[in-house]
């Protein structure tokens, strides 16, 4: 692109964006122009390739657009020029076929090397299975026997403009993926319902999570830190609401975290055997509902007409308890209603069903215990 055109575009961008900048206050996003270099060997490979190809394109652009603009300035009728009549040259055609081909070969060599390195998931230090759900991620540490869901932590009030948006709006979760620094982590990707894609730019790229298939990816993070990403394959209404947060911690801290997780899992098992009070279930149920159900059925239980049925005064939520437990446990095939049996603990299921049967004026008075869920499974 010629200098003139660039200046014009730049001036215009600045002119048009002045009010936008005023609205946005600090305007911190203006500097976000390029791919992040990232913190893994893969991300650096991708970044280097990106910059190489970008500069080659810029160089070709300068030559080609330069020729166009020289031609526009000099070879115009208003300057009184007579048009030349040349219209063929096999030699030139051969030249501008061969030269681009050689440039492409020059690009293909480093690209091939990078691709081979990226696809080498052998000899990992640990393996984590990542499962995409509508609309959250589940992380299973295959070597440690721990697993948990990772839900969006941004409150709905921020999404609908009833509260100011936080710094990490839509890029925060309740349970981040924690990995040790300096270890090769193999990521196995799959999905429970539809296709998702797991993308953390600082970790070098993305892979699809496909139901019924297992994909592989690997990361080795060299610096401790928090790295944020998102789902990159359209997966329905909540596509923008299933972020990824990866925390890379030093080995010792990582071990400590694993121990805590295991202890918490034991406590959860114990909780399933006791009898819960209605208030306890309602309080827990509301939290579970917000995380797992509100994305479709809405916080007020009214759903989205024609797409997601209302639970407020709904046929299932005010009908027989057994049918309610069935549909939550096993889902409804052919719709977005997933089977929550494999996703939630007996306590969470009991709590959320109790909540749904008593919130928003449903007032059935039913209390569902973890033992009822265990019996229905």
């Amino acid at each position: 692109m010629s200098a003139k055109k660039t200046t014009r575009r730049l001036a215009l961008t600045l002119l048009l964006s002045a009010p936008a900048a005023a609205l946005a206050g600090a305007g911190s996003g203006w500097g976000l122009l390029n791919l992040p270099e990232g913190v893994t060997p893969i991300s650096r490979e991708a970044y280097d390739l990106h910059m190489l190809i970008l500069w080659i394109c810029v160089a070709i652009g300068v030559v080609v657009f330069g020729a166009i603009f020289v031609s526009i300035l000099r070879h115009r009728k208003s300057r009184g020029v007579q048009p030349a009549q040349f219209h063929e040259s096999t030699a030139i055609e051969v030249v501008w076929t061969i030269i681009p081909f050689l440039i492409l070969v020059g690009m293909a060599v480093p690209a091939t090397k990078a691709l081979i390195a990226m696809e080498d998931t052998s000899n990992p230090d640990l393996t984590i299975k990542v499962t995409g759900y509508q609309w959250k991620w589940r992380y299973d540490y295959l070597d440690e026997g721990i697993g948990f869901f990772s839900n969006l932590a941004t409150p709905e009030e921020q999404i609908y403009g009833d509260a100011p948006k936080g710094e990490h709006y839509l890029q925060e979760v309740d349970n981040p993926l924690v990995i040790p620094v300096g270890k090769k982590v193999r990521i196995l990707l799959t999905a429970n319902d539809v296709i998702h894609a797991w993308w953390v730019p600082a970790l070098g790229g993305k892979k699809d999570a496909i139901p019924g298939f297992v994909n592989e990816w690997w990361v080795r993070v060299d610096e401790p830190g928090v790295y944020r990403g998102e789902c990159a394959e359209l997966c329905g209404r909540g596509h923008a609401y299933m972020p990824i947060v990866v925390e890379a911690r030093p080995e010792a801290e990582y071990r400590q975290w694993v121990a805590q997780r295991k202890a918490a899992a034991e406590a959860e098992k114990a909780a399933a055997t006791k009898t819960w009070s209605r208030d306890e279930l309602m309080a827990r149920g509301e939290a579970v509902y917000r995380k797992s159900c509100a994305a479709c059925h809405q916080a007020n239980g009214e759903g989205v007409p024609g797409v997601f049925p209302a639970l407020k005064g709904g046929r299932i939520t005010t009908g027989p308890v057994r049918e309610h437990i069935e549909i939550v446990l096993r889902g409804k095939p052919g719709t977005a209603m997933a089977a929550f049996g494999p996703q939630l603990s007996d306590v969470d299921l009991a709590a959320v069903i109790t909540y749904e049967r008593n919130a928003w004026g449903n007032d059935t008075g039913d209390v569902v215990q973890p033992a009822d869920i265990a019996a229905a499974r």
Binding site: R9, L12, T13, L16, A20, G29, L32, L33, P36, A46, H50, I53, C57, I60, G61, V64, A67, I68, S71, I72, H75, R76, K77, P83, E88, W96, P100, F101, A111, L115, I116, M118, Y160, G161, K165, Y169, L170, Q171, V194, A197, W199, P201, G205, K206, K207, D208, I210, P211, F213, N215, E230, A232, L234, G236, R237, H239, A240, Y241, G306, T335
Partner: protein, 526 residues
């Protein structure tokens, strides 16, 4: 050239019938071309309004105007309508108007089928749009219709599938007609290698259409049986494979990309020589490059799917094959530049759009080359970088070529010169706003914003706002385009037969406006 009166008297029986019947029952290639062009203009605005809903919602983070489900329906419908309703029919309209006049034929080879291929379109389009009012909302799984997500569509689902069938049917019949016309009805002396490039690019495009539209029809039919008849083509739980849909879809989808751009190459190859007053450089290499691109388009499809987890060998093959496309595409760009070089150029509106096409399409080509590099694509894939890329090739590429074509041939169609001053205004407003609209999307994608997002993290706000400002400016600028056409149809300075000083070709030998029937007797081509 005879005067209007004598033409009228001499060809009284050639006058078109009046009223609605003329348009409903017409078998005249010019009438059908006009119908196609009007239909695509209407669809351009329908799809454009959907784009503005998208851009308005993306003005700032949070949900402001529409539910995310409806937002997804907007991105889906915008894509389907722009591809199948605006761009493709516009090029078929140009083909109908121009191919018979360019090769010296009296009409298309199959005029009744021509009527039918057009009249399917409004019904298919209406069926697609009617889904907006259905229980469960319009299709919201993306224009690519990937299962399993698309199978969650509500009542709209069968309507989506059948409208795609109908649109495909129309395209296939249009393509058959174009091939039959070009191969059988050229004037004596009009050998294949003397055909204008627009005719050549359409001949190749028509073969692409016949090859891939049935593949799309097959893919969506399998979706239909998966949803209603218990098959599991794309369901892993039943032994199927959701990725297989993507392979089949993109085996259609990649040639589809060239279906939308090859005729644009043809248009640009007509316009640049006219306003450079110099013959097209490298005519035969242009033909070979077009054919090479068409061939390569069949063996690169999986570059749309680098992240699905293909074997390394597959990724390497599709990366190399995709990179190769840069060679013939480069040849085309170099030939256009060489055509301008040492010409005597003037810059009427068609030429302005043509020059902008060469520059901006090349920018889209550069980002395409970057996307071809699989290891880097793992970052770019499904981000706004991709959105920026395909809008550079489809809007500043295909759509700008359509604008250029309309300005270039409008005097031939209407007999009047369009308002040059307003045309230039339309150009400058469009070319500036379109870059404000799409250029920042490169930044957004690289910084990590995925496409098809109804809501986004706060650091993406600034460039999204720039993009939205550009979108509304670009959208509103197109009202000027409609006004210029309207004004030109109503009247204006009388156009000569040749219209443009440097114009060459058979269509410029007939009077302006072109009589209802041209070349009843075949012209002699030297």
């Amino acid at each position: 050239m005879s005067t209007a009166t004598t033409t009228h008297e001499a060809h009284h029986h050639d006058e078109p019938p009046r009223g609605l019947k003329r348009w409903l029952f017409t078998t005249n290639h010019k009438d059908i071309g006009t119908l196609y062009l009007i239909f695509s203009l209407v669809m351009l605005f329908v799809g454009g309004i959907m784009a503005l809903v998208i851009r308005a919602e993306l003005w700032e983070p949070g949900i402001q105007y529409v539910d995310p489900q409806f937002f997804n329906a907007m991105t889906t419908m915008h894509g389907l309508i722009m591809v199948f309703g605006a761009i493709m029919p516009a090029f078929v309209g140009l083909a109908n108007w121009l191919i018979p006049m360019m090769i010296g034929a009296p009409d298309m080879a199959l005029p009744r089928m021509n009527n039918w291929s057009f009249w399917i379109l409004p019904f298919a389009g209406a069926m697609l749009l009617s889904t907006l009012f259905m229980e469960g909302g319009a299709p919201a799984a993306g224009w690519t219709m990937y299962p399993p997500l698309v199978l969650q569509t509500g009542e709209a689902f069968p309507f989506l599938i059948f409208s795609v069938h109908l649109l495909g049917l129309s395209s296939i019949m249009g393509a058959i007609n174009i091939i039959a016309t070009i191969l059988n009805m050229r004037a004596p002396g009009m050998t294949l290698m003397k055909m204008p490039l627009f005719v050549w690019t359409w001949l190749i495009t028509a073969y692409l259409l016949i090859a891939v539209m049935p593949v799309l029809a097959g893919a969506v039919t399998m979706l239909l049986t998966d949803k209603y008849f218990g098959t599991s083509f794309f369901d892993a739980a039943g032994g199927g494979d959701p990725v297989m849909f993507q392979h089949i879809f993109w085996f259609f989808g990649h040639p589809e990309v060239y279906i939308m751009i090859l005729p644009a190459f043809g248009v640009i190859s007509q316009i640049i020589p006219t306003f450079a007053r110099k013959p097209l450089f490298g005519y035969s290499s242009m033909v070979y490059a077009t054919a090479s691109i068409a061939f390569l388009s069949f063996i690169v499809w999986a570059h749309h799917m680098f992240t699905v987890g293909m074997p390394l060998a597959g990724e390497l093959f599709f990366m190399y094959a995709t990179m190769l496309i840069a060679v013939p595409t480069g040849v085309k760009v170099f030939n256009w530049v060489a055509t301008m070089w040492r010409g005597a150029m003037t810059f009427e509106t068609p030429m302005l759009f043509a020059v902008a096409f060469v520059i901006l399409f090349t920018i889209g080509g550069f980002s395409g080359l970057m996307l071809a590099i699989a290891p880097a694509d793992f970052q770019y894939h499904d981000s706004y970088f991709v959105v920026a890329h395909f809008h550079y090739v489809l809007v500043t590429g295909a759509l700008f070529a359509i604008f250029a074509a309309v300005y270039y041939w409008l005097p031939k169609w209407t007999g009047h010169m369009y308002d040059e001053r307003l045309g230039k205004w339309h150009f400058w407003l469009s070319v500036i706003s379109v870059n404000v609209l799409y250029f920042p999307q490169h930044f957004l994608g690289l910084a990590g914003m995925p496409r098809r997002y109804a809501d986004y993290a706060i650091q993406f706000t600034e460039w999204n706002q720039v993009s939205t400002i550009g979108a509304f400016a670009f959208g509103l600028s197109q009202l000027l385009f409609v006004y210029v056409i309207w004004k030109c149809v109503r009247g204006g300075q009388k156009a000569t037969a040749q219209v443009w000083e440097g114009a060459k070709g058979l269509e410029w030998t007939v009077p302006s406006p072109a009589p209802y029937h041209t070349f009843a007797e075949a012209p002699e081509v030297k």
